[in-house]
Amino acid sequence: MPSMNMIQAVRSGLDVMLERDQSVCVFGEDVGYFGGVFRATEGLQKKHGKHRVFDTPLAEGGIMGIAIGMGIEGLRPVPEIQFADYIFPAFDQITNELAKLRYRSGGEWTAPVTIRTPCGGGIHGGLFHSQSPEAYFTHTPGLFVVIPSNPYDAKGLLISSIELNDPVIFFEPKRLYRGPFEGDPQNVAPWNDQPGAEVPDGYYKTPLGKAVVVREGSAATVIAWGTMVHVARAAIVESQIDAELIDLRTLLPLDLETIIASVRKTGRCIVVHEATRTSGFGAEVVALVQEHCFWNLETPIRRITGWDTPFPHTLEFEYMPTRQRIADALRKAVDEE
């Protein structure tokens, strides 16, 4: 099986779907001729034609509006929003239109749009090239919210998303494009030979709505998604605590079963995410764990998250959850009675 980084895996997923299904089309800012600022669509226009993979004007609201229209007409549009930070001009189209179309029409109308967008920090992007806005969308019924943490899942989840008849926001943690970031920007191994970098060339699906246990353990449950899966794994190793690590992969709808089974086993739970804390998706996870596992919990559930500030530039690695903070929280969760 070929080894791919996350960009190559995303590209391969798009390629496979463009090949299989004539109704799939891919578009966005700099996506066509150039192949996207992160190169995710490189070569696809040349291979599939300029009406299948094309450049759009610089207007996210417009991109999303046409995507919905194309979806209503039976196409399967896969628009790219260049950075998740720039999804907000499309917010109305996504949350009021795309997410509610099926419901408001009594199920008559739908638009199977898959919105791809790079998210997250760690690339010196400052306030507006680093955000993790997933919680705005998990707060919106009607959407699927997906976020892979490795190349294999990225391709499999992307194909599942494109084939889904409901709209999906597909976040791509850009810090992971070239290699699994474990918290140290100076030291990121390339994807080759890492788990999750073996990616089949052809068609396969990774199920939506299913979390995965990345590491089994008995002392505590750590729940993470995106870049934080790798930081959390490194923190677990560092702490030498036998924690179980769950990669949610799909935030909405959430795989509660996997979470409950783990917390019932370990009795301790930590949620890690990059986005700001207040009203972050971690709050939802904590509430659900409390509702379902209250009698199994030995210590309070903890959240390790980005601070409640905009995303900074020079202090970004102080802003993002660190191995140290996660390891500290783990120790507390285990030591406390």
Partner: protein
Amino acid sequence: MADSQYRVEDPQGGTRDRMVTRTADGRPTLHIPIAPHRPGDEPRYARFTQQPGDLERPDPLANFDLLHDHAHGLVRVLDDDGNAIGPWDPKLGATVLRDGLEWMLTTRHFDRRQMKMQRQGRLSFCLECKGEEAIGVAAGMVYAPEDLLFPSYRMQGIFLVRGMPMVQMMCHCIGNRGDISKGRQMPVHYGWKQGNLVSISSPVGTQFPQAVGAAMAMAYRHESRVAAAWLGDGTSSQGDFHHGLNFASVYLPPVVLQVVNNQWAISTHRNIATGGKTFSARAESYGIPGIRVDGNDFLAVYAVTAWAAERARHNGGPTLIELLTYRSGAHSTSDDPSRYRPDDESRLWPGGDPIARLARHLKNLDEWSDEQQENLENRLEKEVAMTYKQAETYGTFASGPFDPPETLFDDVYERLPHHLEEQRDEIRILGKN
């Protein structure tokens, strides 16, 4: 039936084919616009058909419909030989012209140094305005200190001209302790309240309607001030561009709105930004004047900006200006234009280089020489290099010092709310471990 219903005159010369094609058996296809040149193509730029002196300079308080030709044509002052011609010649004295030249050269040396520092890993990111220096510099010289400006990220010159110390601009890009924005923004997102230059935001176009609102506030308080904003050809596709124009047309506040049409938005040619003719022509449908100007002609940019600022200041309302130029450099240090446009496109741009053109004009007037230019450039190169060294005394990008982590929480609100106080305490304890 003819194949093409949309063949339009390209104001840059030639026709711009917007052919709507059909399948072999005559059914429609989806039209996808293309860029005129891509790598491997021979760039074909006609010379400007419009000449200096072609267009009248109406009174700044003239009715907007007198500007029809200005929205579709091109205001030029300098001819191909560097002589100033026609009613738009702002008739600036030699000292002002030399100032303009010096500011443009300062801007270019500033950019050059910063780009070099980025390549050496001493900045995280950088972006230059090479070839577009006339736009920031002329505007910086025209607007009054009390006017409120919302520049785009490709206008370093306007900050320099209005007096922001270069060392502070560099400190901002490094993000060190000399940075006014406290290391929070990516490089090149300058802001300087003292010079009435509003902090630049990355989401493009957002500041167009904000400038309109600022101008409404000025009119509301009966002040003779002006607000101005700039955005790019690509950005003119955003809803905010239209919000800005529409609100300006409704309330007629003292605002000057500028589109810097440098042909490219990263890899996206302006043909893909709009199917319309000129950017300035859009003003007409909003009932406000639109003027298109050669953005590499310092005198023309100066004159048109001054016209619009005067109109606004004397209660004549808004103007939309299109500055026709070419982005000579890469979009940014993250970009590689050789992947999407021919290498020599910049050299063939009919507008030439703004610095060379103004220098030639000054030489024609016997007010400038090659020797003077060489001396000036040598001096600037040294000064700029020294200023960068000075900036690094406030901290380097590689090793700081930066503000301590607890400063993350400053400026989120005016007063730190309870939950942020707790988080700040948490980060303090972390620092001690």
